[in-house]
């Protein structure tokens, strides 16, 4: 594409000013200088002592000044300036072979910064947020809440106009996608569109925030961060009961459990005084990791893999820091040291876990510690089995005793013998003595030993021959098989096995160096005085007002959820390599608002969705494209393709197929053959896909069993649920189109939606409009309706002449077809509905 480079350079110039820095502005170290130093210099002149060259640090002002690299106010004396401008490859910095490069604009900035005194400041995200003043704006009337004042102030500075509010049908669809992930009914759309109340929108928001499907929708990004799945991963990939934790998340979100509690429960619920079952289950957050049960897996090695995963996941989820590097060495850019890393690890190194999954049944493998939470149904079955066992006991006991007596007749225990009867050593020693030489104690021990020997060695061989014993044993096995396979055992945290923690050389678990104990990273605030030095203290520290990261990281992810991109684009990284926020003040304002509003997540959600910024139309103008193609300034709303999990829910609900039950064991909806069946080591467990039937086929995607080694086939672009993910990719490939066109889920949804539309209206236009609105919410335009009608008529002509294809199409999926409908009409409408479900507008949150 020849135009590409030249167009790029035009926009490069435009975007530099859009990003904030214009020459008249004062230089801000964090915004303007640190990114350059971090990208080009810190690798060798940063805080990692192992990689440091020439003993020079540029991340600490005093050292840089003492070394003469920087002479504040004097560029010509500063070696840094000489080095970055040198023509001599031996002098030039960064060195040519580092493949790092300082651009001319960056050189100018560095020089100006040194000229103006080389002021350093700490990394912004490591200093606690203060609530900034809400800025003054010209168009005060546009702003609905403080968020808008921040957004508008920037737009006004850039000379951009916010977009008009989206129409109501678009708004209710947008809100429904974001707050519950399910389409509104046509009545709900009509009522909202017609509602004259001044707070019609706010009433809708409150209704959706109170809808129990809210928790299901908002749980999705949290499950991605928590790498939640229903199995362990790796070769055996045993199933777990972690869905009990998943259900807790949904409940907690629905109840708006304040985020500080949400945090404390998940990191340390088990350590709370008189911890409730829910609090313990919540601590399962840190047990959602993978477990490797391969034959050669060394438990201790695997335990460390789990520990590392716990630190990485916790740090990314709450602190927005990537600290995995510090497992082997001090972080190259952030001030996280290897010591910090292992001091954090100490709080996780107390769990009485093995490191590898333990066998419960061919299906179920979990590791200690876990909570056994039998259900009513479990208890009932167990009681039934136990009473059967009790009933079988008398017959079995007498058969048992008779057998024992019979066996004893085979030899005279009172008589000394040298014959080897296969007794254990202790028993033989007594038996070798004549009866008179045996002490009272020995006599008792002998009797007990005989019975024990009989029970252990002789009896098992007799069981099959004695029906009374056999039926008892069968019942006992039935009971133990049942409890092992069917009683929920959700993995949770516990500190019952404290261990010593060491810094590990290069992260190798067999190479301990110095012993360390728990502490928070040295560059962040320390634990409060008197706080427990464990997970609980850590969790409380995370949500303390002086913590600079937790609130910012969360509100940024909430922002990302609603607007597509975070205020800090690198939602997973708030370290020095992160993007400087587009709206730094808005981020801080929201963070403080969140914290001061009792950490209410619903409060922040409500604030955001009721803002004028959120209510804007997503229509793009030429000016938007030219000035802010990525919509970081929010002069319009950002449209985005719905996540695959929500697309499926939407299609099912639009068709009226959805089973909206909340919570419970995972289900197994349609999946192509041989997806699970081809998993490794089939001899160790059965990987046959236990396909669901009935309404379980139509549960929300949240409840589809998530096998860690191969996720659900139709949930494209989803997080892999193997490592913590807080920012998702949203890509577009032909394979996605094939899924929503051909997966029986969508074909059946189209068929059932078609059926419903035929039942709803008697005229074609009414039917087409109904189907269209069920999916898109708004009514089709006249041109659109004409197109739909023409499509329908063409398809009808084809299906009307092809009875075989008609029946085939109408047979996709398990749900019953209304056989009173005309087949050709039904098939033609099905085909139209498939097109509707695949419209760009159907796939997109507008």
């Amino acid at each position: 594409m020849l135009h590409f480079r030249s167009i790029l350079s035009i926009f490069l110039a435009a975007a530099v000013s859009a990003a904030g820095q214009s020459s008249a502005d004062e230089i801000d170290f964090n915004r303007d200088i640190r990114p350059i130093l971090s990208e080009s210099c810190f690798f060798c002149h940063g805080q990692d002592g192992n990689k440091r060259q020439a003993d020079l640090r540029l991340d600490v002002r005093q050292i840089a000044v003492d070394a003469g690299a920087i002479v504040p106010g004097d560029t010509s004396a500063s070696e840094l300036v000489e080095r970055i401008n040198s023509d001599d490859p031996d002098v030039l910095m960064p060195p040519p072979d580092s493949h790092r490069r300082v651009t001319p604009e960056q050189k100018q900035l560095l020089e100006r910064w040194i000229q103006e005194g080389a002021k350093y400041s700490g990394h912004w995200a490591f200093e606690a947020p203060q609530r900034p003043a809400v800025p003054n704006v010209n168009r005060v009337e546009w702003a609905r809440n403080p968020i808008d004042r921040f957004v508008l102030s920037k737009l006004e500075r850039e000379g951009l106009e916010p977009s008009p509010e989206a129409d109501r049908a678009t708004l209710i669809k947008r809100l429904s996608i974001d707050l519950i992930g399910l389409p509104p009914t046509l009545d709900e759309v009509d009522a909202f569109v017609a509602d004259p109340a001044h707070d019609a929108y706010e009433k809708l928001v409150d209704r959706l925030l109170g809808n129990p499907h809210y928790g299901e929708r908002l749980a999705l990004p949290w499950l991605d961060a928590a790498r939640y799945a229903d199995s362990n991963g790796f070769q055996q990939d045993g199933d777990t009961w972690q869905w009990l934790w998943r259900d807790w998340v949904v409940r907690a979100l629905n109840e708006d459990l304040p985020f500080d509690q949400f945090t404390i429960w998940q990191l340390a619920g088990d350590l709370l005084p008189d911890a409730t079952t829910d609090q313990k289950i919540a601590s399962g957050f840190n047990r959602n990791h993978l477990l490797n049960g391969e034959g050669g897996a060394i438990a201790e090695e695997q335990r460390f893999v789990v520990l590392f995963d716990r630190i990485d996941t916790t740090a990314t989820t709450w602190l927005g820091l990537t600290i995995a590097c510090a497992q082997c060495h001090d972080h190259k850019y952030d001030p996280t040291t290897q010591r910090d890393y292992y001091r954090l690890m100490d709080m996780f190194n107390r769990v009485p876990e093995v490191g590898t999954p333990q066998f419960f049944s061919t299906r179920i493998r979990v590791d200690k510690p876990y909570l056994e939470l039998s259900t009513e149904a479990n208890n009932q079955t167990i009681v039934e089995l136990e009473s059967k066992i009790a009933a079988a006991m008398p017959a079995a006991t007498s058969a048992d005793d008779a057998a024992y007596a019979g066996w004893r007749l085979g030899f005279d225990p009172a008589v000394k013998t040298d014959k080897d009867l296969g007794f254990p050593e202790a028993l033989t020693a007594i038996h070798n003595k004549s009866a008179g030489d045996r002490s009272e104690e020995e006599k008792n021990a002998f009797e007990a030993g005989l019975r024990k020997h009989f029970d252990e060695k002789i009896r098992p061989e007799l069981v099959a021959k004695l029906p009374a014993l056999a039926s008892l044993e069968a019942l006992k096995k039935q009971l133990s098989d049942y409890t092992n396979d069917q009683v929920p055992r959700v993995m949770v945290m516990s500190d019952d096995q404290p261990r010593e923690t060491f810094i590990l050389r290069r992260g190798e678990y067999l190479s301990p160096l110095e012993k360390v104990s728990f502490a928070t990273p040295a560059f962040l605030p320390s634990l409060a005085a008197g706080a427990p030095a464990n997970r609980l203290g850590f969790a409380q520290w995370l949500v303390a007002p002086e913590n600079p990261l937790t609130a910012r990281v969360q509100v940024n992810r909430i922002w990302q959820y609603f607007f597509g991109t975070g205020l800090v684009k690198t939602a997973e990284d708030f370290g020095v390599q992160s993007e400087y926020p587009v709206h730094r003040e808005l981020l801080d304002w929201l963070a403080v608002e969140f914290r001061e509003h009792q950490w209410s997540m619903k409060h922040v959600h409500r604030l955001i969705v009721t803002s004028a910024a959120y209510r804007q139309s997503s229509r793009i103008t030429a000016e938007h494209l030219a000035r802010d193609g990525d919509n970081r300034l929010l002069a319009r709303f950002s449209r985005s393709r719905m996540p695959a999990m929500i697309l499926r829910d939407w299609a099912l609900a639009a068709a009226g197929l959805l089973d909206a039950r909340i919570g419970g064991a995972p289900v197994y909806p349609y999946q192509p053959d041989a997806v699970w069946e081809s998993l490794a080591i089939t001899k160790e467990r059965d990987f046959t896909y236990p396909a669901s039937s009935g309404s379980d086929l139509y549960r929300r995607s949240l409840y589809t069993f998530w096998r860690r080694t191969v996720g659900p086939a139709n949930m494209f672009d989803a997080a892999n649920r193997q490592t913590c993910r807080v920012r998702l990719s949203n890509t577009s490939t032909p394979l996605h189109a094939l899924t929503t066109l051909n997966d029986p889920t969508w074909v059946e949804a189209a068929r059932v939606l078609a059926q419903k539309s035929l039942q709803q209206a008697n005229d074609l236009d009414g039917r087409l409009t109904f189907a269209f609105r069920q999916v898109i919410c708004r009514a089709p335009t006249e041109t659109g309706l004409n197109m739909l009608r023409r499509t329908y008529e063409k398809q009808f002509a084809i299906y009307n002449a092809d009875a075989e294809s008609t029946i085939k199409l109408l047979s996709v999926g398990a749900s019953q077809r209304d056989e009173t409908l005309d087949c050709a009409q039904h098939a033609a409408m099905t085909s139209v509905c498939m097109a509707i479900l695949n419209l760009d507008e159907a796939l997109t949150r507008e």
Partner: protein, 486 residues
């Protein structure tokens, strides 16, 4: 990729579409014009055409890869790495020096050394030692480049395999095929750029993580082409909808989408139209390329392939058909190479003979076929497992008549053929008993660096910024082994 650049590209693309009046032609044009390139660590990914061809850092020696993974890890000492001294000492206690402080997957105590029960001889101008387990490789020994000094740190299947494919023993990072399609795009937009073929019915140990795109955009994910059911998931039209009907229904969809783009003015809607058109074409091109019945009798016979079957032979033939059609990376996984000796099929005698009988013939046919078609010179073929196997008998099966070996990370053999490698080379050496590398160690990361080099990449520069760090296939390691280059 640099987020800044990414945003620039989006803007540029949008501006481009805007400038050309939002025409569909613009999209078609941008699909055809393949002038994008990779400079330094910046990879230009246009969201409308993420798989368009890109030029690597420097002129590549190979343009595409066929990777033959023998899942479970074949016993190098019974195939490629001849150890007469071990044969002499077979049955003796394993010396303590090799056991001290070590843990093995299934062996404890003092195992017995195990000389190979196979017969070795030298083949080709190169005088390469090969055993009788691989008769069909004897004739092509001079085409192959053996590395006898491979080593890893992992001795469990899944982590070892993940290390080979993603550079890390833990799931979550992009696989080699994903990195290369990220860097290079692909030559044929109507087929996936990175195809995975699985034989012997079982997924690799690492599951789909072994061909996952990790944190790279999911468009670079390996796409499994299956021999049973849909060749690609959901590629078949639903029952009761033939191609003609689908075409009509897509036409309607297209019209409605065009109408929407006019009404709402979103350039992405045009990307959506292109996505559905591509899907339609893929529905034809994938089944076509997967249909080996179009091959001649001779070709089928040479590979030992049979249409309708699911076999390694079929997959080798498919690999050729796929690279011929411009697929960038074809990854084969063949299950059943874990020679513990726990069953006759896992034994070093008959078991190994039978396993190779279904394997070395199609491999030899593939190499000859590619050569004959002029494709071998720029197609890189790689073959091997995820680790080595012990020079002693596996603990659990020590008393069995079936001979087996345990997992072993310290040394193993892999070979390459084709694009840019030194044919007929035997690189690296293990000690006389096969316990360790004594010459020219090659870590898994070094092999990866070498593969990247052959494809035209500086492995340290093909990076992706994720969680504040620039990640690459070779983690923070790896060096190119110059001696392996032709």
């Amino acid at each position: 990729m640099d987020p800044y650049l990414e945003s620039m590209q989006n803007q540029t693309r949008r501006a481009f579409l805007q400038g050309t009046g939002l025409s569909l032609g613009a999209i078609a044009l941008s699909t055809l014009a393949g002038s994008a390139s990779v400079s330094g660590s910046d990879v230009t990914i246009r969201s409308a055409t993420p798989l368009e061809q890109r030029s690597p850092h420097f002129a590549p020696r190979a343009k595409r890869v066929i990777y033959l993974h023998l899942t479970g890890s074949p016993p190098n000492l019974d195939i490629y790495d001849y150890k007469p001294e071990l044969v002499k000492r077979s049955g003796q206690d394993c010396p303590d020096e090799f056991l001290k402080g070590r843990t093995f997957a299934f062996t404890t105590g003092v195992p017995k050394l195990l000389g190979t029960p196979r017969t070795f001889a030298q083949y080709g101008q190169s005088g390469t030692w090969l055993s009788d387990a691989v008769p069909n490789l004897h004739g092509i020994a001079d085409e192959l480049c053996f590395v006898h000094s491979m080593y890893t740190e992992q001795f469990n299947h899944a982590p070892a395999e993940l290390l080979v494919y993603t550079g890390s023993p833990r799931p979550g990072r992009p696989s080699m095929g994903s990195w290369l399609t990220y860097g290079l795009g692909t030559e044929n937009q109507n087929l996936p750029g990175f195809v995975v073929l699985i034989s012997s019915g079982v997924q690799p140990n690492g599951g789909a993580s072994s061909y996952s795109s990790g944190f790279l955009p999911s468009v670079f994910q390996g796409v499994q082409c299956r021999s049973k059911g849909d060749p690609v998931l959901f590629i078949s039209d639903p029952a009761g909808m033939d191609r003609k009907l689908r075409r009509r229904s897509l036409d309607a969809l297209k019209q409605l989408n065009v109408l929407q783009s006019q009404e709402l003015g979103h350039p992405e809607t045009l990307t959506r139209i292109a996505q559905y058109e591509l899907a339609f074409r893929m529905q034809t091109s994938v089944p076509e390329v997967m249909d080996i019945s179009q091959e001649t009798e001779q070709a089928l016979a040479a590979y030992g392939a049979k249409p309708g079957e699911s076999s390694f032979a079929n997959n080798c033939l498919l690999a050729r058909r796929l690279v011929e059609q411009g697929v960038r990376f074809v990854q084969l996984f063949d299950w059943g190479w874990d020679f513990h000796g726990t069953a006759p099929g896992e034994g070093l005698q008959e078991g190994l003979t039978n396993k190779w009988a279904a394997t070395d013939k199609p491999i030899a046919a593939l190499i000859k076929d590619l050569k004959q078609r002029g494709l071998l010179e720029d197609t890189l073929i790689i073959c091997g497992g995820e680790f080595g196997r012990t020079p002693f008998r596996e603990g659990r099966t020590a008393a069995s008549a079936v001979l087996g070996r345990d997992h072993y990370p310290d040394c193993f053999t892999m070979w390459m053929a084709g694009g840019g490698i030194r044919a007929g080379c035997n690189y690296g050496q293990t000690d006389e008993l096969g316990f360790g590398v004594v010459e020219n160690k090659v870590h898994v990361h070094d092999l990866q660096a070498t593969i990247m080099h052959l494809l035209g990449f500086n492995h340290e520069q093909l990076t992706y910024r994720f969680q504040g760090r620039d990640y690459r296939l070779t983690d923070v390691h790896g060096r190119v082994i110059e001696e392996l280059l032709g």
